[in-house]
Amino acid sequence: MEQDEFFGEKAFQHCCAEFIKHSQLIGDGWEWRTSKDCSDGYMCKTHLQIKNGTVAPRPRPSAHEQTGLPMEEAAELALDDAEAAEVPAVSPVIRYEYHVLYSCSFQVPVLYFRASFLDGRPLTLEDIWEGVHECYRTRLLQGPWDTITQQEHPILGQPFFVLHPCKTNEFMTPVLKNPQKINRNINYVTSWLSVVGPVVGLNLPLSYAQAASQDM
Protein backbone atom coordinates (compact mmCIF):
# COMPACT_ATOMS: atom_id res chain seq x y z
CA MET A 1 0.00 0.00 0.00
CA GLU A 2 1.33 3.43 -0.88
CA GLN A 3 2.23 5.62 2.03
CA ASP A 4 1.08 8.96 0.76
CA GLU A 5 -0.38 11.62 2.97
CA PHE A 6 -3.92 11.16 1.81
CA PHE A 7 -5.58 8.47 3.86
CA GLY A 8 -8.88 7.98 2.08
CA GLU A 9 -11.89 6.00 3.11
CA LYS A 10 -10.99 3.08 0.86
CA ALA A 11 -7.56 2.88 2.46
CA PHE A 12 -9.27 3.02 5.83
CA GLN A 13 -11.55 0.12 4.95
CA HIS A 14 -8.66 -1.90 3.60
CA CYS A 15 -6.62 -1.35 6.75
CA CYS A 16 -9.59 -2.32 8.88
CA ALA A 17 -10.08 -5.50 6.90
CA GLU A 18 -6.46 -6.50 7.46
CA PHE A 19 -6.73 -5.53 11.10
CA ILE A 20 -9.84 -7.64 11.59
CA LYS A 21 -8.24 -10.60 9.83
CA HIS A 22 -5.57 -10.60 12.48
CA SER A 23 -8.09 -10.00 15.22
CA GLN A 24 -9.96 -13.11 14.16
CA LEU A 25 -6.74 -15.08 14.13
CA ILE A 26 -6.00 -14.24 17.74
CA GLY A 27 -9.57 -14.01 18.98
CA ASP A 28 -9.33 -10.34 19.85
CA GLY A 29 -13.02 -9.68 19.21
CA TRP A 30 -13.05 -6.90 16.61
CA GLU A 31 -15.86 -6.89 14.07
CA TRP A 32 -16.81 -4.86 11.04
CA ARG A 33 -20.26 -3.35 11.04
CA THR A 34 -22.03 -1.55 8.22
CA SER A 35 -24.98 0.77 8.51
CA LYS A 36 -28.05 -0.37 6.65
CA ASP A 37 -28.43 2.80 4.60
CA CYS A 38 -24.98 3.47 3.25
CA SER A 39 -21.69 1.85 2.54
CA ASP A 40 -20.20 3.43 5.65
CA GLY A 41 -18.75 0.96 8.04
CA TYR A 42 -16.76 0.83 11.21
CA MET A 43 -14.87 -1.57 13.42
CA CYS A 44 -16.05 -2.31 16.90
CA LYS A 45 -15.13 -4.30 19.93
CA THR A 46 -16.70 -4.81 23.31
CA HIS A 47 -14.87 -5.93 26.38
CA LEU A 48 -15.50 -6.28 30.07
CA GLN A 49 -13.15 -4.86 32.60
CA ILE A 50 -13.07 -4.47 36.35
CA LYS A 51 -12.95 -0.81 37.27
CA ASN A 52 -9.28 0.13 37.82
CA GLY A 53 -8.24 -3.40 36.97
CA THR A 54 -8.11 -5.64 34.00
CA VAL A 55 -9.34 -9.14 34.57
CA ALA A 56 -12.63 -10.19 36.13
CA PRO A 57 -11.89 -12.74 38.86
CA ARG A 58 -13.17 -16.25 38.60
CA PRO A 59 -15.91 -16.92 41.11
CA ARG A 60 -14.54 -18.90 44.04
CA PRO A 61 -16.10 -22.31 44.62
CA SER A 62 -18.70 -22.41 47.36
CA ALA A 63 -17.80 -23.91 50.72
CA HIS A 64 -19.96 -26.88 49.82
CA GLU A 65 -17.87 -27.59 46.77
CA GLN A 66 -14.62 -26.95 48.57
CA THR A 67 -15.12 -29.08 51.65
CA GLY A 68 -17.48 -31.76 50.38
CA LEU A 69 -19.47 -31.33 53.55
CA PRO A 70 -23.22 -31.58 53.50
CA MET A 71 -24.89 -28.31 52.56
CA GLU A 72 -25.92 -27.17 56.06
CA GLU A 73 -22.51 -27.72 57.58
CA ALA A 74 -20.86 -26.08 54.62
CA ALA A 75 -23.14 -23.07 55.00
CA GLU A 76 -22.11 -22.64 58.64
CA LEU A 77 -18.49 -22.92 57.63
CA ALA A 78 -18.98 -20.28 54.99
CA LEU A 79 -20.58 -17.89 57.46
CA ASP A 80 -17.72 -18.34 59.89
CA ASP A 81 -15.27 -17.71 57.11
CA ALA A 82 -17.05 -14.58 56.04
CA GLU A 83 -17.10 -13.18 59.52
CA ALA A 84 -13.51 -14.08 60.18
CA ALA A 85 -12.05 -12.98 56.88
CA GLU A 86 -12.22 -9.54 55.41
CA VAL A 87 -14.97 -9.42 52.87
CA PRO A 88 -13.61 -7.36 49.99
CA ALA A 89 -15.81 -4.77 48.37
CA VAL A 90 -17.15 -5.93 45.05
CA SER A 91 -15.41 -4.10 42.21
CA PRO A 92 -17.86 -3.10 39.54
CA VAL A 93 -17.51 -4.64 36.12
CA ILE A 94 -17.52 -2.17 33.28
CA ARG A 95 -18.56 -2.88 29.73
CA TYR A 96 -16.39 -0.94 27.26
CA GLU A 97 -17.30 -0.49 23.65
CA TYR A 98 -14.76 0.82 21.16
CA HIS A 99 -15.68 1.93 17.68
CA VAL A 100 -13.27 2.95 14.95
CA LEU A 101 -14.82 5.19 12.32
CA TYR A 102 -13.48 7.20 9.44
CA SER A 103 -13.67 10.97 9.60
CA CYS A 104 -14.19 12.48 6.17
CA SER A 105 -13.45 15.98 7.41
CA PHE A 106 -10.13 15.08 9.02
CA GLN A 107 -9.37 12.13 6.73
CA VAL A 108 -8.21 10.03 9.61
CA PRO A 109 -9.68 7.27 11.76
CA VAL A 110 -11.47 8.33 14.91
CA LEU A 111 -11.96 6.41 18.14
CA TYR A 112 -15.42 6.49 19.64
CA PHE A 113 -16.05 4.72 22.90
CA ARG A 114 -18.54 4.34 25.67
CA ALA A 115 -18.64 2.50 28.93
CA SER A 116 -21.39 1.35 31.21
CA PHE A 117 -21.92 -0.77 34.27
CA LEU A 118 -23.55 -4.13 33.70
CA ASP A 119 -26.90 -2.75 34.80
CA GLY A 120 -26.77 -0.31 31.91
CA ARG A 121 -25.80 2.85 33.82
CA PRO A 122 -23.35 4.78 31.68
CA LEU A 123 -20.03 5.98 33.04
CA THR A 124 -19.55 9.71 33.34
CA LEU A 125 -16.69 11.61 31.80
CA GLU A 126 -15.14 11.81 35.26
CA ASP A 127 -15.26 8.01 35.56
CA ILE A 128 -13.59 7.75 32.16
CA TRP A 129 -10.79 10.06 33.28
CA GLU A 130 -10.06 7.80 36.20
CA GLY A 131 -9.49 5.00 33.72
CA VAL A 132 -7.01 6.94 31.61
CA HIS A 133 -3.50 5.56 31.89
CA GLU A 134 -1.22 7.41 34.29
CA CYS A 135 1.25 8.48 31.66
CA TYR A 136 -1.38 10.36 29.67
CA ARG A 137 -3.32 11.74 32.56
CA THR A 138 -1.29 14.86 33.27
CA ARG A 139 -1.40 16.05 29.72
CA LEU A 140 -5.04 15.22 29.18
CA LEU A 141 -6.12 16.80 32.44
CA GLN A 142 -4.69 20.07 31.28
CA GLY A 143 -7.31 20.24 28.62
CA PRO A 144 -9.75 17.39 28.75
CA TRP A 145 -12.41 19.17 26.80
CA ASP A 146 -10.06 19.47 23.84
CA THR A 147 -9.27 15.82 23.72
CA ILE A 148 -12.13 13.70 24.95
CA THR A 149 -15.56 15.04 24.15
CA GLN A 150 -19.02 13.59 23.98
CA GLN A 151 -20.54 13.40 20.55
CA GLU A 152 -23.23 11.65 18.64
CA HIS A 153 -22.05 8.50 16.90
CA PRO A 154 -22.33 9.35 13.17
CA ILE A 155 -23.93 6.02 12.31
CA LEU A 156 -25.73 4.89 15.46
CA GLY A 157 -26.84 8.34 16.56
CA GLN A 158 -26.13 7.56 20.21
CA PRO A 159 -23.90 9.52 22.56
CA PHE A 160 -20.31 8.32 22.63
CA PHE A 161 -17.06 9.71 23.93
CA VAL A 162 -14.63 10.65 21.20
CA LEU A 163 -10.90 11.09 21.20
CA HIS A 164 -10.61 14.20 19.06
CA PRO A 165 -8.93 13.54 15.71
CA CYS A 166 -7.52 16.99 15.02
CA LYS A 167 -4.01 16.06 16.15
CA THR A 168 -3.92 12.62 14.58
CA ASN A 169 -1.97 13.73 11.52
CA GLU A 170 0.57 15.34 13.77
CA PHE A 171 1.66 12.15 15.44
CA MET A 172 1.04 9.84 12.49
CA THR A 173 2.99 11.79 9.88
CA PRO A 174 6.48 11.32 11.38
CA VAL A 175 5.78 7.60 11.65
CA LEU A 176 4.60 7.29 8.05
CA LYS A 177 7.25 9.53 6.62
CA ASN A 178 10.13 8.07 8.55
CA PRO A 179 12.94 7.94 5.97
CA GLN A 180 14.54 5.04 7.83
CA LYS A 181 11.53 2.98 6.94
CA ILE A 182 12.53 1.31 3.71
CA ASN A 183 9.96 -0.85 1.98
CA ARG A 184 8.13 -1.29 5.19
CA ASN A 185 4.42 -1.61 4.99
CA ILE A 186 2.41 0.04 7.68
CA ASN A 187 -1.18 -0.58 8.56
CA TYR A 188 -2.32 2.95 9.36
CA VAL A 189 -5.19 1.79 11.54
CA THR A 190 -2.97 -0.58 13.53
CA SER A 191 -0.33 2.09 14.13
CA TRP A 192 -2.87 4.73 15.01
CA LEU A 193 -4.85 2.49 17.35
CA SER A 194 -1.69 1.33 19.10
CA VAL A 195 -1.03 4.98 19.97
CA VAL A 196 -4.50 6.20 20.93
CA GLY A 197 -5.97 3.01 22.37
CA PRO A 198 -4.02 2.93 25.64
CA VAL A 199 -5.21 6.43 26.43
CA VAL A 200 -8.69 5.02 26.96
CA GLY A 201 -7.84 1.59 28.24
CA LEU A 202 -7.56 -0.27 24.96
CA ASN A 203 -4.28 -2.15 24.59
CA LEU A 204 -3.44 -3.98 21.39
CA PRO A 205 -1.65 -7.32 21.70
CA LEU A 206 1.88 -7.21 20.28
CA SER A 207 1.11 -9.69 17.53
CA TYR A 208 -0.67 -6.90 15.63
CA ALA A 209 2.72 -5.30 15.13
CA GLN A 210 4.15 -8.42 13.57
CA ALA A 211 1.06 -8.93 11.42
CA ALA A 212 1.12 -5.36 10.14
CA SER A 213 4.65 -5.61 8.85
CA GLN A 214 3.85 -8.79 6.96
CA ASP A 215 0.60 -7.78 5.31
CA MET A 216 -0.12 -5.60 2.36
Binding site: K181, V195, L206
Partner: protein, 131 residues
Protein backbone atom coordinates in the same frame (compact mmCIF):
# COMPACT_ATOMS: atom_id res chain seq x y z
CA UNK B 1 36.35 -1.11 48.13
CA UNK B 2 34.09 -2.30 45.39
CA UNK B 3 35.01 -2.71 41.75
CA UNK B 4 32.19 -2.66 39.31
CA UNK B 5 32.99 -4.18 35.95
CA UNK B 6 30.61 -3.31 33.15
CA UNK B 7 30.55 -3.96 29.46
CA UNK B 8 30.94 -0.86 27.34
CA UNK B 9 27.34 0.27 27.49
CA UNK B 10 25.61 2.98 29.47
CA UNK B 11 23.22 1.76 32.07
CA UNK B 12 19.98 3.36 33.06
CA UNK B 13 20.23 3.81 36.81
CA UNK B 14 18.11 1.39 38.70
CA UNK B 15 17.23 1.38 42.35
CA UNK B 16 17.46 -2.40 42.56
CA UNK B 17 20.70 -4.24 43.04
CA UNK B 18 19.56 -7.37 41.30
CA UNK B 19 22.14 -8.90 39.05
CA UNK B 20 25.15 -8.01 41.12
CA UNK B 21 27.05 -10.96 42.46
CA UNK B 22 30.30 -10.78 44.39
CA UNK B 23 32.54 -13.25 42.66
CA UNK B 24 35.79 -13.09 44.49
CA UNK B 25 37.59 -11.27 47.21
CA UNK B 26 41.26 -10.64 46.84
CA UNK B 27 43.84 -8.94 49.01
CA UNK B 28 45.90 -6.04 47.69
CA UNK B 29 49.42 -5.22 48.65
CA UNK B 30 48.12 -2.66 51.10
CA UNK B 31 46.29 -5.44 52.87
CA UNK B 32 42.85 -4.21 51.92
CA UNK B 33 40.29 -6.55 50.56
CA UNK B 34 38.51 -5.76 47.37
CA UNK B 35 35.52 -7.50 46.03
CA UNK B 36 35.07 -7.74 42.31
CA UNK B 37 31.43 -7.50 41.43
CA UNK B 38 30.71 -8.48 37.90
CA UNK B 39 27.29 -7.44 36.82
CA UNK B 40 25.73 -10.01 34.56
CA UNK B 41 23.90 -7.49 32.50
CA UNK B 42 22.97 -9.84 29.73
CA UNK B 43 20.89 -11.96 32.07
CA UNK B 44 18.89 -9.12 33.50
CA UNK B 45 19.01 -6.45 30.84
CA UNK B 46 18.47 -6.10 27.14
CA UNK B 47 20.40 -3.91 24.75
CA UNK B 48 18.33 -1.14 23.26
CA UNK B 49 19.11 1.18 20.40
CA UNK B 50 17.07 4.38 20.44
CA UNK B 51 16.38 6.16 17.15
CA UNK B 52 14.71 9.53 16.85
CA UNK B 53 11.85 10.08 14.42
CA UNK B 54 10.81 13.36 12.82
CA UNK B 55 11.84 16.54 14.63
CA UNK B 56 12.56 14.73 17.86
CA UNK B 57 15.95 15.58 19.36
CA UNK B 58 18.53 12.86 19.00
CA UNK B 59 19.83 11.43 22.24
CA UNK B 60 23.58 11.76 22.71
CA UNK B 61 23.68 8.23 24.01
CA UNK B 62 21.73 5.89 21.78
CA UNK B 63 22.69 2.52 23.16
CA UNK B 64 21.37 1.51 26.53
CA UNK B 65 21.27 -1.59 28.69
CA UNK B 66 17.81 -1.68 30.21
CA UNK B 67 16.57 -4.17 32.74
CA UNK B 68 14.02 -6.56 31.28
CA UNK B 69 11.24 -5.55 33.60
CA UNK B 70 11.41 -1.87 32.71
CA UNK B 71 8.08 -0.87 31.18
CA UNK B 72 7.55 1.28 28.12
CA UNK B 73 6.14 3.92 30.42
CA UNK B 74 9.32 3.83 32.47
CA UNK B 75 11.40 4.20 29.34
CA UNK B 76 9.23 7.07 28.12
CA UNK B 77 9.68 8.86 31.46
CA UNK B 78 13.43 8.34 31.23
CA UNK B 79 13.74 9.68 27.69
CA UNK B 80 11.48 12.63 28.51
CA UNK B 81 13.75 13.63 31.39
CA UNK B 82 16.86 13.05 29.31
CA UNK B 83 15.53 15.23 26.48
CA UNK B 84 14.06 17.75 28.94
CA UNK B 85 10.66 17.67 27.28
CA UNK B 86 7.91 19.98 28.46
CA UNK B 87 4.85 18.59 30.20
CA UNK B 88 2.75 19.44 27.15
CA UNK B 89 4.90 17.32 24.87
CA UNK B 90 4.00 13.70 24.47
CA UNK B 91 6.60 11.04 23.68
CA UNK B 92 5.76 7.86 21.80
CA UNK B 93 7.89 4.78 21.44
CA UNK B 94 7.51 2.38 18.52
CA UNK B 95 8.65 -1.12 17.66
CA UNK B 96 8.96 -2.10 14.01
CA UNK B 97 9.00 1.64 13.32
CA UNK B 98 5.23 1.72 13.40
CA UNK B 99 3.62 0.09 16.41
CA UNK B 100 3.35 1.68 19.85
CA UNK B 101 3.42 -0.97 22.58
CA UNK B 102 1.12 -0.25 25.51
CA UNK B 103 2.70 1.59 28.44
CA UNK B 104 2.80 -1.46 30.72
CA UNK B 105 4.58 -3.65 28.20
CA UNK B 106 7.97 -4.82 29.48
CA UNK B 107 11.12 -4.24 27.51
CA UNK B 108 12.17 -7.86 27.96
CA UNK B 109 9.02 -9.09 26.22
CA UNK B 110 9.54 -6.62 23.38
CA UNK B 111 13.08 -7.85 22.96
CA UNK B 112 11.83 -11.45 22.68
CA UNK B 113 9.35 -10.45 19.97
CA UNK B 114 11.17 -7.77 18.02
CA UNK B 115 14.84 -7.97 18.93
CA UNK B 116 17.43 -8.99 16.37
CA UNK B 117 21.24 -9.02 16.20
CA UNK B 118 21.26 -8.98 19.98
CA UNK B 119 19.40 -5.71 20.35
CA UNK B 120 16.00 -4.10 20.30
CA UNK B 121 15.60 -1.07 18.08
CA UNK B 122 13.07 1.42 19.38
CA UNK B 123 12.00 4.54 17.56
CA UNK B 124 10.85 7.46 19.64
CA UNK B 125 8.91 10.49 18.56
CA UNK B 126 7.76 13.59 20.37
CA UNK B 127 4.48 15.23 19.60
CA UNK B 128 2.08 17.86 20.77
CA UNK B 129 -0.56 15.25 20.02
CA UNK B 130 -3.04 16.53 22.54
CA UNK B 131 -2.33 20.19 22.84
Amino acid sequence: GLLLVLPGLATIPSTSVEGQFPLATFPTSAGERHTAVIVFLSTFTVDILLKAVGDTPIMKTKKWAVERTRTIQGLIDFIRKFLKLMASEQLFIYVNQSFAPSPDQEVGTLYECFGSDGKLVLHYCKSQAWG
